[in-house]
């Protein structure tokens, strides 16, 4: 199947990436090119094949529930676009 402009707008919204009307058109063509290429996977019979999520079989390790990190909040917040009193600032969400 191939994507139309509405599909592209929906995917862009889910991805939180703003696309202009012009970008939407080129994006549609490029994504359809890539989807056309990966379409060949559909022809393969994979009945009974277990999906492989990882190259090696490992189980999630558990660690003792103790504090191992030191407080480096100031070091980390220096990197933020906007902070105040140790808080990250974003535009108002609730009126």
């Amino acid at each position: 199947m191939s994507l139309n402009l509405e599909d592209v707008a929906r995917i862009a919204l889910l991805s939180r990436i703003e696309l202009s009307a012009a970008e939407r058109e080129t994006t549609r063509d490029q994504l359809n090119g890539i989807l056309g290429f990966i379409e060949q996977l559909q022809a393969i019979d994979t009945t009974g094949i277990e999906p492989m999520a990882h190259a090696v079989d490992v189980v999630q390790r558990l660690r003792p529930d103790v504090v191992t990190e030191t407080d480096r909040r100031a070091d980390f917040q220096v990197l933020a676009p906007e902070t105040e009193d140790g808080l990250y600032l974003v535009p108002k969400v609730l009126e």
Partner: protein
Amino acid sequence: MSDLINSSLRQLAAALVAKKISAVELATLFLDRIEKFNPALNAFITTDREKTLAQARTAGERLKAGAGVTALSGIPLAHKDIFCTRGWRTSCGSKILENFVSPYDAHVVEKLAAAGMVTLGKLNMDEFAMGSSNETSYFGPVKNPWDVSCVPGGSSGGSAAAVAARLTPAATGTDTGGSIRQPAALCGLTGLKPTYGVVSRYGMIAFASSLDQAGPMAKSAEDCALLLNAIAGFDARDSTSLERAPEDYSRDLEKPLAGLKIGLPKEFFGEGMDADVCAAVEAALAEYRKLGATTVEIGLPNSGLSVPAYYVIAPAEASSNLSRFDGVRYGYRAPEYADLAEMYSRSRAQGFGAEVKRRILIGTYVLSHGYYDAYYLQAQKIRRLIAADFVAAFKECDVIMGPTSPSVAFAFGAKSADPVQMYLSDIYTISTNLAGLPGISLPCGFGSNNMPVGLQIIGNWFGEAKMLNVAHQYQKATDWHTQMPEKMK
């Protein structure tokens, strides 16, 4: 000085220990070369002479005192800009991290620093490691030192160009679909991707977490073995790091190759490989037969599906990993927005480049409701078929060989208009990432326009020492790996 820039890591270590040169002098030699040649190559994004020399002085003191000296003490190297490096800008080749100064060190950075290595700077790369030509970097493309009108390969293109031009004795790289091996091939050096899980991913900015693996890029297999010794090992901070007994990856380097069985996948030697690459690879195989190896044809029947499967799985994982770039805690934030949703979507639209956005969009689509089973789950099932091919193949041979890349380095712009054409330049490398296998690329001659050709060796799971042995014995019998670009002398 040409002897020093072409020296192996063992030779450099010996010169440092014998006090023929100091760590500061050695670092200065390479910093001066970076200053002279980098403007033409754009291999480095960030250098900081003061920081480098301070590290060199510390290493020099350790060497002088003779305490805590390792096989790598005082030797300079440079890091791909995907590795978080405390106090250094770590951009990942992206505008979104243009001003990100890392507050911590990646595991790989930490280990190499602990071994006494001196950081020369941070190397250019395709944005978020997404690319095969280095043309997607926000900081501009890296030029191939053998011919500056050609790409160095990618995504570790800065690492490859810097080692090839002898701006650093060695570099770190990462390989998600061929990003160490393909640029190593295109720039004429040796680059190794370890078995998935051997090297910790902690502090390595994530692209596709089930495929990403760090590895060394250097002039020879022997150098790669010494570097792998330093960076491998369990790290609790990476949930997929493997708990295995430490290994000396250089232990088998000198073993003769008599009786070695080399598997040649018929799928790698058919259509699609350029004639000049084929000739160089065939000549390398002839050399291996001279060294006592035999070759056997094997089949990897599903390997043709590896590129399309990869372009479902890698973007899916990338779309999830890159959701952390939201303009709130770090990274670029758009200057104007009406509300929170617009702040996110504008920051990401302005901060990411075209290829990164394409992959996030594809990844989001294949994971979205109604398409997950058809694309993502199906690709994961095919991934298992691809891995199973290798399990069967390794029953018939000790290592697998073939070309690293279907062509020598191509001109800028040659493939950048069509994403799918670019993706196909990783056709021989991607299947090993999907299976989690180790692979190495080493120089095996020159093709058209005198550009380097890479031979790829794929090892069995955890077969790094064997793979390095096989590569080293070839490098003892040939001198392709000792060649450097004339214009960089």
